[in-house]
Symmetry: D2
Subunit: 423 residues, 4 copies
Amino acid sequence: MIRHTLRKQLVNAARTPVITRRYAHAPVALNWEDPLDSASLFTEEEVAIQETANSYCQERMLPRVLDAFRDEHYDRTILEEMGELGLLGATIKGYDCAGVSSVASGLITREVERVDSGYRSGMSVQSSLVMGGIDEFGTREQKDKFLPGMAKGKILGCFGLTEPNHGSDPGSMETTAKPHPSKEGYLSLSGSKTWITNSPIAEVMLVWAKLQSTGKIRGFLIERDQCPPGTLETPPLKNKNGLRASITGMIQLDECPVPEANMFPEVEGLRGPFSCLNSARYGIAWGVMGALEDCIARARTYALERRQFKNNPIAKYQLVQKKLSDAVTDASYGILAATQVGRLKDEGKLAPEMISMIKRQNCDRALINARTLQEIFGGNAVSDEYGIGRHVANLFVTQTYEGQSDIHSLILGRAITGIQAFV
Amino acid sequence: MIRHTLRKQLVNAARTPVITRRYAHAPVALNWEDPLDSASLFTEEEVAIQETANSYCQERMLPRVLDAFRDEHYDRTILEEMGELGLLGATIKGYDCAGVSSVASGLITREVERVDSGYRSGMSVQSSLVMGGIDEFGTREQKDKFLPGMAKGKILGCFGLTEPNHGSDPGSMETTAKPHPSKEGYLSLSGSKTWITNSPIAEVMLVWAKLQSTGKIRGFLIERDQCPPGTLETPPLKNKNGLRASITGMIQLDECPVPEANMFPEVEGLRGPFSCLNSARYGIAWGVMGALEDCIARARTYALERRQFKNNPIAKYQLVQKKLSDAVTDASYGILAATQVGRLKDEGKLAPEMISMIKRQNCDRALINARTLQEIFGGNAVSDEYGIGRHVANLFVTQTYEGQSDIHSLILGRAITGIQAFV
Amino acid sequence: MIRHTLRKQLVNAARTPVITRRYAHAPVALNWEDPLDSASLFTEEEVAIQETANSYCQERMLPRVLDAFRDEHYDRTILEEMGELGLLGATIKGYDCAGVSSVASGLITREVERVDSGYRSGMSVQSSLVMGGIDEFGTREQKDKFLPGMAKGKILGCFGLTEPNHGSDPGSMETTAKPHPSKEGYLSLSGSKTWITNSPIAEVMLVWAKLQSTGKIRGFLIERDQCPPGTLETPPLKNKNGLRASITGMIQLDECPVPEANMFPEVEGLRGPFSCLNSARYGIAWGVMGALEDCIARARTYALERRQFKNNPIAKYQLVQKKLSDAVTDASYGILAATQVGRLKDEGKLAPEMISMIKRQNCDRALINARTLQEIFGGNAVSDEYGIGRHVANLFVTQTYEGQSDIHSLILGRAITGIQAFV
Amino acid sequence: MIRHTLRKQLVNAARTPVITRRYAHAPVALNWEDPLDSASLFTEEEVAIQETANSYCQERMLPRVLDAFRDEHYDRTILEEMGELGLLGATIKGYDCAGVSSVASGLITREVERVDSGYRSGMSVQSSLVMGGIDEFGTREQKDKFLPGMAKGKILGCFGLTEPNHGSDPGSMETTAKPHPSKEGYLSLSGSKTWITNSPIAEVMLVWAKLQSTGKIRGFLIERDQCPPGTLETPPLKNKNGLRASITGMIQLDECPVPEANMFPEVEGLRGPFSCLNSARYGIAWGVMGALEDCIARARTYALERRQFKNNPIAKYQLVQKKLSDAVTDASYGILAATQVGRLKDEGKLAPEMISMIKRQNCDRALINARTLQEIFGGNAVSDEYGIGRHVANLFVTQTYEGQSDIHSLILGRAITGIQAFV
């Protein structure tokens, strides 16, 4: 049915193909919003999906974001709305998911993050980390049980990997799963996870823990409503510097009973969480380009409207134009790279380090350019109403989470040289 | 008496010269907090003043800043406390001011901004922009009336130059002063000023306006309690991205009557406000180094305590050490430059572009390094409790106010080439 | 026949498809030489052409380049050899040219510049600036007369646009063409062109001059062997900092008689030379990526072989790996962007500013990364035998010629904002 | 007598104090050549010494440098001329040396490198590495024998530490000294040193080798004319990318007999060579600022003379002015830092890492700014006659020798964190 909804929109989109039409005529003039005509690389379906996402994000999400960021408030109905549109877990085939291409899912991500990285984070967790993980590693029963509800945004998920003392090095995690002392067929999980997006509001938690019997990391689906009191706490972490429109918290497990049936059947070690993270990182590489594109549009508008010295719009000044040119260039390049990796992903030609490359580069360039564009606003940049300060604050977080920039440079360096340099 | 207080502390300081002692023994080992031994350039009195300021700031200010920034709240008793210590308008001779050197005032600024740029902004406005302006351009009566109370922090001031449509180009201001239609000996001021630190709580406002009869810019001291209802409004500007521990607002004047005796007697044109701004910018060049030094100390502590990969403190990793080395270097260089300009200032050898140079460079380098140091905190940087995110947010504002970085580069460029490139 | 040669090689290549095979197996492991698998975007024919060019360049060109650069010597037989392989004017259809895609021509350029930017410059002038200009703007007779010989490398061309006092602003050129005072059907050209690659050895010069009768810029094909003594001089410019393996000179015209039949028939103004330059710039965007890739390969090899501190290869150090990761990323992104623009070019969807974008970005990133990679060689970098210093010297020139980086940022800025900021 | 010469010049300088006078009048206008008035920190004697050096360098050295760099030729009479002026080993007290302050010696270095880093290298080796080493570690006899002749430039020295396989890590050196098998009172040295400035022309070589009996590194003064044929070779290393106006070579020792009396008496381990290197690095920190200042002057002149677009000097364009402002700022800061370290050196308050800081920072900033300034020359930068390309090539070498930039960042990082990160 979800698939239906998206299909129907595609049909409608075909009748009024806003984005398609925009790029249809011969681009003798540069389109500053897509200077290297990346749209020429997308299928009609992908363009239509982007348009659907764009309309929703601009019309429904954007009006809420300023207050959400100020008040550090996350509106979970957003995920339900996205579910209705078929935007969640969109690359999954079956289970009421849309089954679109990786590029299409990237375009959705780009549109959501064009509004706010926090909203995109909330979606990434649901779609890539949890739904993607269940789809890739879950049993048929786990998929049937969780995926359709998650696709609709009725069941919210979160992903518990990072621990307070183990960020870049999750292999040292301390959370353990051992046979439950009293409940047959149950494991008992204890440990603490932190910086978990959506944890305070999630119904299902994909938690990674070391199975005591083997010492190997395994994945567990913990259902909040099945946890006895005192065995699961998910306190929110407030007063964040960025991503304030998403909700973040801890997962504290104290001998929490989890049915054996809720453990992923086969995947062991870091392969499981890294595979999920790689999907999410692929989405981040797309998303941050959307945030950067919004910064460009905002800075361009400001530069054309703001007048200083002899009533010139400041867009006339060389130092302003250079900032815009640099940013537009990096956005164009980043979109091409993300598109290419998406195609390779769907063709089974993906090397994980490709994602390290585009996650790092796109986050770094989005951040650097957003900061530079913010300078165009001069003293007015201090007001949150121009929106760019919010993007800057968010983009810094995207650079540090799911693999800090330097860590990805060393992952890439290892692939280039054959030598690891982490320690 | 204020002078007394400071003197008394100097005597005490001389008995227990904490900072002096720190640098007394032969520095065979590098002191990472002052790697180029800038302390060797300060007099004993200056060192003692820095110590006084440091103790106050760390013991009294620091505990308040996290909440102040979160809640966007400014505690005006801070200025009273600083007044009691003799830290306000400290370079002014007479009028109960301490009459210390420019370097000493810079050291005070550095200590205040080591805690928070917002607190330093509140002080800069009081000390440099308003008290400095009155001392330099005011009549004897104006000085007698305002300076002693301002020195004690009993009378708060603000500085109204920037207008909504005229930031980098104040010469185009629209606020005017014309003969008051009904009150003899009064002028009538109308216009709007924005991004005015302290305006919502100030008792006296130094406002720059064009005198209708000459078309020339003049300075006016507006006393809030003398303004009839409806002629003066100072609404706060909330939801700032940075400097949230300072209070900012507008000054809206609607035929506000101001006694002719409250006009600065001689200074005309932009020379007046630019002179005040230059003093404030000199303080910023010192202050941001304090903020950067705090970022260094916080990042260093974090890097020594945080362990990743084989239980190594992350301070062991090359990519972390390089960030620290870069930051420490820029802080050391910036302090030397600010010291040199302070000495030249007191010797009457100051060229205004020297201040453009150190304001720009120190703000730029403080910001860039603070951002890079923030990366050391990885995902934890998103928590405001590490303090560095607050500095980063503040330092961006210091780069854009009182002359955005690019504007200062063009001021400097004009001095180098003899050609202006603003338009 | 040339076409034949290339075709034949394609057939051979199909039998032993070296590059194709390299990318054929599923790239689970990252290929550091093509990390985003750009090869997947090329046709089999394009891959075969690259292979042909690669073999020639590595086997025939590379052994000559060190001495050529040291002695500032250009070996014109190189162009003849390239002509034999069908690599000159390769995108032109007919006239014994190969008629390949723009991407294929870009791949040739990349292989040539992987050896040396100077060799690529010599080829660019022949292929893009002169042959491309004749093909686009020449009469049928002009094409018949020049193109086949140029395709074989038997006739060498050069392109005279830049004048001593007019670099970034060619519209102000001073070279003029007026009716010849004595020779019927001839124009008389006078003026001076500088920094003209190949001028001292060229048989035909495409010179742009203002037609006196209209004041409009027109293109002229000047044949050296038809010029009376004293009317044409092409003195070489020696002692260059870079591109020392290419030959550069001036074109000095003193009432040089040129047949009217040698004037391009229709194109007027800067449209003509800019169109030629745009083709050449497209090639530069490809070429510099080849130079950067060679720097990466050289630095990687050095880092794996050089051992310092406990006998570790320096490739193990984080600061070294980061330099490699940055460079590899920029090379990967640049290749994708150049490929995309090539496709758009062939589909008639090219906006000229796309070329400004990729010329600027690829040159800038090639230069920056080459310089950083050079640091890996430590003190040994001073020896020219490591080759990387040569690339660094060359790449600086590519950044400044055919549109200095800043000029292209303003061209792009104009397209983004609709406002020109050149003056 | 040398001392006499310098003194005499000081007296003359006092009569016509060119530099002093330049800075004497109140600098209301910014002096772009010394924007932070560093001259105010120098004594009259220091200013006079700088003036002497400046006159010599500009009048005598500058005319030779273009050909020297082109032909990779070093004119050893330069050292003799400098010796006549008292500029060699200038900080040494006694032995016919001038005995001036560290700042004065830095000012000499700055003037020499304002012409060329290669000339400065030749001088640094003589003054800091060899004469400084003998003065600090030599016996009275060694000093008497070598220093006066070296001060006059009659005896040239070189410094042999770096080996082909041991650059950043000299502690692993392989050169050894063992008892000579046949000559009583002699040691036999064998091993190979590379990248040794002045080695092909030096009369005396300060070579560091491991004493076989202790395994500790010791210093030896090898006199060329005392070495039997076949025991010492000093082949030149040609075809350098930079520092082409200095001469560089190897030192190859094959059982070379060296009298025990030529060994430094006490210093063992890396303390000896590191102390010499630190002196040289201090000089480099000054020197590169001179090179940068020359780049600024050349770029400024070019920007004022070169006209593009509506006949504006390109100095009018914002993107050009920003490059100049950045460079001028870094030069000003760097001079202040070098001055401060010089003062601390003479006061016995030097920490070695201070020199790592200023060597690294000043080299890095000189290089970065020189490269950026070079862009101002556009396509003309390719000509070596503008001189800036030569500085760029030289400055890259200064960044990599005597401690590559990254190595110094780790030395500094170790001092900041207490943890070494070399391996």
